[in-house]
Symmetry: C3
Subunit: 329 residues, 3 copies
């Protein structure tokens, strides 16, 4: 049997990721996790290559995580800061991206408040036959593939620390709780988790968890369920993914109050008793303590994987940049 | 015959650049272009040296280009961000510059909205006998030497890719079209192109292309002409340099409208028929598509050198930093 | 006698620094100053380690100085920019810090407008048994230890360039002049200078130099004096440390005017005649020329150590990061 190989130039969305691609990412991230456990946490894999971070939407953790991943692969990095940019001078986003490619960028990590911008840039770069890989670091409410991949890696590493692989999730019950509608993280998680054969249960208020999400489960290896109360989603769950609640949802009359949201959907120790005894809780951060999750629960290493997610993020992003940069697995 | 040597500590302006200096820059940039075509695009030339980018005026492309040039020479870089700076605390610009020198800066790349600031800093540094090189990355409406040098390198590389040299331009006709008055790029281009022996034709509305520019052609190897319509400048031109039009020029009543400007001075396929058949078009970027240049023309690799200019920019800035940093040619 | 060893994980405050610790810092900084005098100013000491600069309050010089110190030790660096951060999304400062630790940060340099933030973060990190060192880069009006250590190193290097050590200051008279009340630099300087056995004289207007500061001298090797006029502090002084005057102090009615402040407390050539003939003047920067210090005096290398302070800053911060990072002395 042939060794699996990575052929994807861009990572824009997980909707068409194959099981083999998930496993290549998990396996590569696993070897980088080993590198990150050493004192000297660098490898020369991407030396002389250039990673440009184009973050049109502000971010601390994702930008830092990608920047660090690139540096630990010995790549050079450039950060694009929209506030001090030519965008205020009327340049189009495509022209900005082309400028970075013309400078010699090998991989471009793009975050934008509008869905589809990374895809549009990738299509234009392919049309121009530019040798650049585009990585979607979050586009509007569409997708955030590296976040879902780090969630997947974190979960699989709990199930088998030495050999994280997609099929470990088969038959596991995973709840995704909160503002599904506005969450690019939820969309990417739904693609990866239903691909694994897990049972995925979405739960949120009807305004934030509309029926149309059920369609995302069609023809996927794992089934997808929707709930407008949290309890059926938590019942016997192996993992609970909580989502960030944007405070502006209240102003949009999608929510009565943060306090009521917490009472109905907040993850607390009491609610976790519905789950499997060894349930683990994830959150993509940044967390509104006491809203999506009880503050003490967030800090409890018995249940919370939030810190491991951040650590996994560097390894997973190293894996993505490495694979896109032509690294051998 | 002795090998030419680089003796200039600062690069502030092109008005007194010698033919030998232009040729050293072109030749050095040419060898760095070869480095940039490799997979590992770095050389250890400036390892351990420090390049500080002091951009008092916002910029994407120029700051990134210099930062990348420094990194590809293995220098360390520091970026000064005015928004988060001591300037808000009342420190003078000279004191800010002195602080960076006292930290050990070897080369300082300075952009400022006021003409003369890089010169003033360079003079003060020389007076203090500080071992630092100052590179003007654009000062007000005065000069932008690295942009003009990358334009020169781009043009000469079209004429002879293997041996870009100043005398290739002798007798060529080059049009510079647009807002000459407010353009530091135009001023630097006029110095470099008239030094080469090219025929330089300026064209723009009378409000943006005043007669006094004719004086810049006095006693230069190549002649300088002024036009208030675009056609005579384009007639049989080998190269057309279009300039960015600042939208605020309309509010200042220097222009009736962007649409009228495009009708009278915009570069279109129809207008290019006046030029030599193999004419090439340059633009320093960022471009207002459909104002200075027709959008489809900008993207046509048969005519547009805009992408090559960006690529050349890294090689030319590597050359400047390398030469200023004491690199051997 | 055993070689002294560095055991401090965090550098938060100087109030409990031992003489041995001061001497280790001075001696380590001295060897890094030698490194910084070479053409290749880098050492591989912290290769593969990560230094995160979390500057919740804007700063040019301190952030650049720490970033450069880290780079010259070959560490990787991440800069946290509050304007583009998750703080606007409601994340707590402790959670931001934990995120950087989870990413693999080895040393965290923190500046915050509120006193006590670096300490709070350090305590939480210790509670979590995180292997990270916290360095206070200025917290409110509390402390700025690296500034006081670079002042100490600058002063000791004047007294003995080859062997800067704490006991060189014994019996020396040092004046600290200006807005003592609001100055974190003054507080840290008081701890280091009274530890050395120097005579420390504070001088400032009563509103900015309240009696309670006298308590900081209790049980310290060197005595502490307070004055509401500048002359007794300057009389026979060996060193004068001037402090930055925040212009907002006038709006708070703590000062009549900058002009009157300069007349009463500004350091001028005339006033320096009261001091020892070889007196030297320090200022932490950025300077309000003509307010705290006469403009020409600031630039006079016979008296001013301001430029040396900046240079010392890089060596001292390299020493702190190196020692905290487990480097051998």
């Amino acid at each position: 049997m042939a060794t699996p190989t990575w052929t994807r130039r861009h990572v824009l969305s997980l909707d068409d990721f194959s099981a083999e691609e998930y496993n290549i990412v998990l396996q590569t991230a696993s070897s980088f996790r080993e590198v990150l456990s050493r004192r000297l946490k660098k490898v020369p894999a991407l030396q002389g290559l250039l990673v440009a971070n184009l973050f049109f939407e502000p971010s601390t953790r994702t930008r830092s995580s990608f920047e660090l991943a690139a540096k630990r692969l010995s790549a050079d990095t450039l950060n694009f800061a929209p506030a001090t940019s030519s965008l205020t001078k009327g340049e189009t986003i495509l022209d900005t991206a082309k400028t970075y490619v013309a400078m010699g960028t090998d991989m471009m990590v793009i975050r934008h408040q509008q869905a589809g911008v990374p895809q549009a840039i990738a299509m234009e770069m392919d049309r121009l036959e530019a040798r650049v890989g585009i990585l979607n670091a979050g586009d509007g409410q569409h997708e955030h593939p590296s976040q879902a991949l780090l969630d997947l890696f974190t979960i699989c590493s709990i199930l088998d620390p030495d050999r994280p692989a997609l099929d470990l999730l088969k038959g596991k019950k995973i709840a995704i709780v909160g503002d599904i509608l506005h969450s690019r993280v939820a969309r990417s998680n739904i693609w990866s988790l239903t691909a694994s054969g897990a049972q995925v249960h979405l739960a949120g208020p009807p305004t934030l968890c509309p029926m149309l999400f059920a369609e995302m489960g069609a023809d996927r290896p794992g089934p997808l369920f929707l709930h407008w109360t949290v309890e059926p989603a938590l019942q016997d769950a192996d993992f609970v993914i909580t989502l960030r609640l944007q405070k502006e949802r209240m102003e949009q009359n999608l929510l009565p109050s943060l306090r009521e949201y917490h009472q109905l959907f907040g993850i607390t120790r009491a609610r976790l008793k519905l789950c499997k005894p060894d349930v683990k809780v994830l959150h993509p951060g940044p967390v509104n303590r006491g809203v999506e999750i009880a503050s003490d629960l967030m800090d409890d290493p018995e249940f919370s994987l939030i810190s491991q997610q951040v650590t996994s993020g560097v390894a997973v992003r190293m894996a993505l940049l490495y694979l896109m940069g032509g690294g051998k697995i």
